[in-house]
Symmetry: D2
Subunit: 361 residues, 4 copies
Amino acid sequence: MGNSFGKLFKITTFGESHGVALGVTIEGCPAGLEIDENFIRTEMQRRKPGQSKITTQRKEEDEIEILSGVFEGKSTGTPIGIVIRNADQKSKDYSHIADKFRPSHADYTYFEKYGIRDYRGGGRSSARETAARVAAGAVAKMLLAHKGIEIQAYVSQVGGLALEKSYQELDLSKTEDNIVRCPDPVVAEEMIELIDSVRKDRDTIGGVVSCVIKNTPAGLGEPVFDRLHAELGKAMLGINAVKGFEYGSGFEGVKMRGSQHNDPFVKEGDQIKTTTNYSGGIQGGISNGEDIYFRVAFKPVATIMQDQESVNEAGDVVTVSGKGRHDPCVVPRAVPIVEAMAALVIADYLLLAKSNKLVDL
Amino acid sequence: MGNSFGKLFKITTFGESHGVALGVTIEGCPAGLEIDENFIRTEMQRRKPGQSKITTQRKEEDEIEILSGVFEGKSTGTPIGIVIRNADQKSKDYSHIADKFRPSHADYTYFEKYGIRDYRGGGRSSARETAARVAAGAVAKMLLAHKGIEIQAYVSQVGGLALEKSYQELDLSKTEDNIVRCPDPVVAEEMIELIDSVRKDRDTIGGVVSCVIKNTPAGLGEPVFDRLHAELGKAMLGINAVKGFEYGSGFEGVKMRGSQHNDPFVKEGDQIKTTTNYSGGIQGGISNGEDIYFRVAFKPVATIMQDQESVNEAGDVVTVSGKGRHDPCVVPRAVPIVEAMAALVIADYLLLAKSNKLVDL
Amino acid sequence: MGNSFGKLFKITTFGESHGVALGVTIEGCPAGLEIDENFIRTEMQRRKPGQSKITTQRKEEDEIEILSGVFEGKSTGTPIGIVIRNADQKSKDYSHIADKFRPSHADYTYFEKYGIRDYRGGGRSSARETAARVAAGAVAKMLLAHKGIEIQAYVSQVGGLALEKSYQELDLSKTEDNIVRCPDPVVAEEMIELIDSVRKDRDTIGGVVSCVIKNTPAGLGEPVFDRLHAELGKAMLGINAVKGFEYGSGFEGVKMRGSQHNDPFVKEGDQIKTTTNYSGGIQGGISNGEDIYFRVAFKPVATIMQDQESVNEAGDVVTVSGKGRHDPCVVPRAVPIVEAMAALVIADYLLLAKSNKLVDL
Amino acid sequence: MGNSFGKLFKITTFGESHGVALGVTIEGCPAGLEIDENFIRTEMQRRKPGQSKITTQRKEEDEIEILSGVFEGKSTGTPIGIVIRNADQKSKDYSHIADKFRPSHADYTYFEKYGIRDYRGGGRSSARETAARVAAGAVAKMLLAHKGIEIQAYVSQVGGLALEKSYQELDLSKTEDNIVRCPDPVVAEEMIELIDSVRKDRDTIGGVVSCVIKNTPAGLGEPVFDRLHAELGKAMLGINAVKGFEYGSGFEGVKMRGSQHNDPFVKEGDQIKTTTNYSGGIQGGISNGEDIYFRVAFKPVATIMQDQESVNEAGDVVTVSGKGRHDPCVVPRAVPIVEAMAALVIADYLLLAKSNKLVDL
């Protein structure tokens, strides 16, 4: 339980940080979609470690191999199996923590739940597992591209350093121009400096990833429990290190009055639109055709390059020493993960919406 | 799709605001649990309309009828069917909006999704549906009580008026002492005044509900996608008017450094505990035995007692007039709903955790 | 777990034989379908007890009440809640078996599973629960009728008395002309006599229901585990008293050679057809457009009007006396239940097939 | 949809006959189970092609590679990923049927469903996919062995040649002593001769696999839709070439009277047992602790070594020539597949039954 995501466009992942391989099975991808392996590889590059001075220096190529479900370059409707071998395992980096519970990691909770754990690099709890999601998300993105739907995430905050501008005021096409993935080049530079200084302190820091989904048709969402934003929220909260999710007006919106917050409907040409979008493109849990936007809070990474006191399985006091190669801040590498999970949600809800009306059968 | 919640302890709801009845089927409640109907009724009273001057003045008794699954006062393991008849329907209140799209309601999106809609009082999109959840949540609470698990929600913010104190500094037993359900009697009074003034302006305002879950055993949660906080987040985002969810350090935590944010493990007597709890009782998506706490943002209610411009199904400009009897602020009545959904999540994950270890089989 | 059936067109039932009411929630019915309540009632009449001398003489009107999901005569896409009150409960008929395990009933297994049970008339294990399925199946039938799909079941065997003719040689429109629901009037008469003589012996007898589904489009089915016939099989095996399921050539087909059994493809007009249909309209778990046909074996009802030796909860030897009013043979009343479950499967797979191809999105 | 099986102990498979690899992800295996890779390999050998003169002569080693979920020889509770590379693909064997629909194969139905298909050796519809199930089933068997549960299948019929004896009269430990997997050595010899003569006729023939499950505890099964036998039936009907399933008294039982068919309860020592077992170990969809037994009908394999007339995608008449290396009768190799699927069902229901009673929480 817990390794699958989605209902019709559904993925199931397996794999530990330092096991033989990670993998994902993608079910429900409609047949006839051109599968561009290079695009999947490009997405993997955006997530992979070692891509810049502000990410972990681990080297993993994250090479994908498609095992099934694609024939002569197109999806066949059968499950797409993908594996990603773990090349740079360096298990000895982790032997020193075999029976220790690292603070704010999942060591203790996995041990309590299962009575046994793969302690190498966090095992299944490692963010390395998200590589499988990015591969699957790339397939979902190709499906969405077919419908004109675009997903763009970017770093909007690092520590206390936040973008003031809304997504409409930014040129999101510049997001990939810098290593922190912030579309404002000036703020990006400050963010990079901040992360670099945190890294030099052998510490870590949190951040926020914002995301915009454009051109979603109206009608996606499955109330009452599987509202579109509830599933987006779950998708984001299921990413390592995430502590919060808000969409549209979010937590700030609670201060507003209804008369300000309501989004007036107007007709523009053939289409019904809203003049403001505090709703974040979703009303009653169903997309209304406006931009969907949301924000995701990431805590500071728990692995720090400092000594920390903790306990081991026996309950003895021990020192956990910071070793290995870790990210001082996860948000630059989290951008493609947020996009991948958003793509998976939208692809799934697109398929779910095919049987809503009798006239469409 | 979308009307069920949970995997083993699972509910399915039906019903519209102004249909014949609402209902819920509860599956997976372990056999032998004493079902106290009066407790369910008490919970229903906390949610029902018309309970104070700061809630809607609609009168609905929300009387429950248990149709199955309980025999001689105990659960039998078979599904518990509950119905709640809609007494005070007053459908004529809604005839004036039959073909109009009320701003920031679900009228337009339901129409786009289904091509047809029950316009009376929002139909299925009405928060009235949450009555069924509160009934089911009451059963889940009885199960949790059997394990000593307690869930307490309270109003921590109305508009810009926020409690400064953390839940540890508050006496949560005072929550039900005032009509706004804020455990600080002084702030509660201010909140009530604020809501009352908003009501007199024929407007609405948002708020925040905070929630604490105590005595959860370590080991609950189903990584990687169904992390305990991801499911809690989905549960909360599935409540009407919710725009955001954060747990533990939440959005504020992004400003912290790892060295501050990490929760050190220590041994206290027989138990492994943490000295701080920025993790919010959940690490790697699995409960660690510390208090679980989270915050839920509610937007200002979309129904305001003012004229608003909008369009109808034909796209013509129309005026939507505020009529009927509505809540100026939902958070006081949202407190039991938040608790109910939290109880459903914890009950479900408690059952899911029964088969984690071979030694327990 | 276990009270829901279907994935997109999905039902959840609740209710015990002698509880307050039975009920069903139907999710996923496409919006805009005209819901003919009279048709549902007609289907209920076909299943209800007391309809002829060869069925139980219990009187239950099985009156349905639609609580939600239908507005101005049409489905709205939201869940359709239906309840059926238990009018003629006569619980005292069952007090004599409160702690006894009736042979070949579910008394012992429910007790072992749950440690508690509603002993009145079998509780949840009673075939009375199928009333809820027939109501839901009627809605599914209305959806299928919209696509021209027809489902016709009939009694093909009672005890050792079997119809020799295949369904193609029979006039299925005559099925409802007699009380045993066998389309051959001569054999029907013999079956009725046989059941009546068994009834006079205070005994029961088994039978077979055959079913044909016509006009199903090619392409329905979800290999590899959810093949169309696997789901049909599960649906049938989930009906009380069913011991076997076979489709197409079935158990007899094992004696054939591939060269005989293979169904040759030919083109007829625009359509690809097969000249024989040993496949039973399903190849590789997917419908091919030919008639789907299958057979369902029902054991003799366990409740007999004779004294039987058994044990009680304490393990003491006890006598179970046949009381109450029961069916000497279930197959006449099982015909609408088989049809209902078949309709639910086909409706569900029809919706699932909407997203198979990219070109259809 | 359709590539997963099970609820708590759950598998998801991918892979085509002539793609790069097959694979399976096993979720929910309780942590701490010793995983004996050699046992998995032994099970794979029982299913693999080329094992005797009466099976296909294709050579596939079906070597498994465990990619995750096992650490230091034990399951960790995280998903177990297994891949099986396709070594002996010989795709050119299939080029001659690229656009032809082979009679009684899934060529036509996959094409209708998806508009595209991997024609090489049946693609996803090939029984080769069951290799992944046997690997997963081996893990389930190891879990069941831990609880003392045993599953034994055997060939009970080939063509018209059927074992007369019931499983109680046979020595099932002799099943693996001959290549047809029939525990009666005399009948086995006749079956082998029959299959060999059919093979020489360049034809195929059907058969029946019987299966017995011993030592299942009482209480497994999830009524009303997920009865234990309904899920077993679905599991079996989901195996390639299966046309029928019956358990306990099955189709023959319909001829019996209730007074004969009912299984009397008696107390033996501490345990409640039944003196007969027409119920097949399942009452009301829940195991009663007696032996569970069932029969599965397999049609003659559709691939025959003869020329057959058919049509191609354009609807033109074409000749399909029998080429490649195929099984004249599938039942000998189906024995481990039936056992694997039965093991998966029982393992899943064992876990599901952990939360039935309040006293067990």
